[in-house]
């Protein structure tokens, strides 16, 4: 379980997260939705243990995120891979740090995503780079998979491959996936639960099926309604 209790994170004078509290239960796929600058990436970084809250507390399975790091795989929005590395080189790098690396899955997924081990990061397309990032994050058998804008700037075919990969490898009941994105349409059918974030606050946290049932609206429509005036 991921738990935020009255978490505030500030960058200068801007409150990226403004005293938010919520919890995400285990074994589900959660959408963290909101416009750019709403605080989604900040929230993911706090869960990944890459930054600390100014006030309040973030816990993963009752632990400090830094202590829970071995359970968490994080796919940042930015290009974090060294440009001169090959995919295989980057994989070796991660392998050395995380004992939950699954070599079999890595090889199988590499093939499925049409990637090659000796592809150089700076020589491949943006879509391939995004797929490589996903490959490296998903090849760990982490209980928590945090994806920051996994589809942004990716062509439609690679998008489909990324989504297929997530569904194919999802471990029901044990794996928790958090997808932070402002492009909801593509992942609409993928999420169990949605947290809508606006200006550092949570405006709605609800089951996706309940939103459809009760509002008679898609998640995209719901987001438009909630974000009016942004």
């Amino acid at each position: 379980m991921i738990e935020f209790s009255q978490v505030t994170k500030q960058y200068g004078k801007v409150k990226a997260l403004d005293s938010i509290s919520f919890s995400l239960s285990k074994g589900r796929i959660i959408g963290l939705f909101g416009p750019n600058g709403a605080g989604k990436s900040t929230a993911l970084k706090l869960i990944a243990g890459l930054s600390r809250p100014d006030r309040g507390k973030v816990e993963v399975d009752g632990q400090n995120p830094q202590a829970a790091k071995s359970k968490i795989a994080y796919l940042p929005e930015v290009d974090y891979l060294y440009p001169w590395m090959t995919i295989e080189g980057a994989a070796c790098f991660i392998k050395a740090f995380y004992p939950d690396w699954d070599e079999h899955k890595y090889k199988e997924l590499m093939h499925f995503l049409n990637l090659e081990p000796d592809m150089k990061i700076n020589k491949i397309s943006k879509g391939q780079r995004s797929k490589a990032k996903l490959l490296l994050a998903v090849s760990r058998r982490a209980s928590y998979l945090l994806l920051d804008e996994p589809l942004s700037g990716v062509d439609i075919l690679s998008r489909e491959e990324i989504i297929n990969t997530l569904i194919r490898d999802y471990r029901e009941g044990e794996q928790t996936i958090v997808i932070a994105t402002h492009e909801i349409g593509e992942v609409e059918n993928l999420v169990d639960e949605v947290v809508f974030v606006k200006r550092g606050k949570i405006v709605l946290k609800q089951e996706a099926e309940v939103i459809r049932q009760e509002r008679g609206k898609s998640l995209v429509e719901t987001m438009k309604e909630l974000m009016k005036g942004e």
């Binding site: 609409e188 169990d192 099926e209 998640l219 995209v220």
Partner: protein, 124 residues
Amino acid sequence: MDFAADRPIYMQIIEDFKRRMIRGELKTGDKIPSQREYAQMVRVNPNTVQRAYREMENMGLVETLRGQGTFVRVEEEMLMAMKKEMAEEIAERFVREMKDLGFDYEDIKMLVEKFLHKGGQSND
């Protein structure tokens, strides 16, 4: 298949299976895809598929045999009931929409008769 984004997906999955059963595309004893296969086919959250399959089991439409898969198990009586239920939904929606357009009882009846007549002729 494409799901409507404004209605619960697990319900649409169940409807899809029901429709196939009514049309006879799926019969008792037929094996349906595993939950994972189906989730990948329609690109939907595996938890949602799991819910749809569980509800179909509870409704007595399918049966999961350990280690063998999920099979259709629908009795004639149930099939007739489903057919009737679906027909009623269509009729209800039709009447509601016609009334919304401002047609009254006689107008609707006449229109339906006209199309029934047409349909009858073309089938001859």
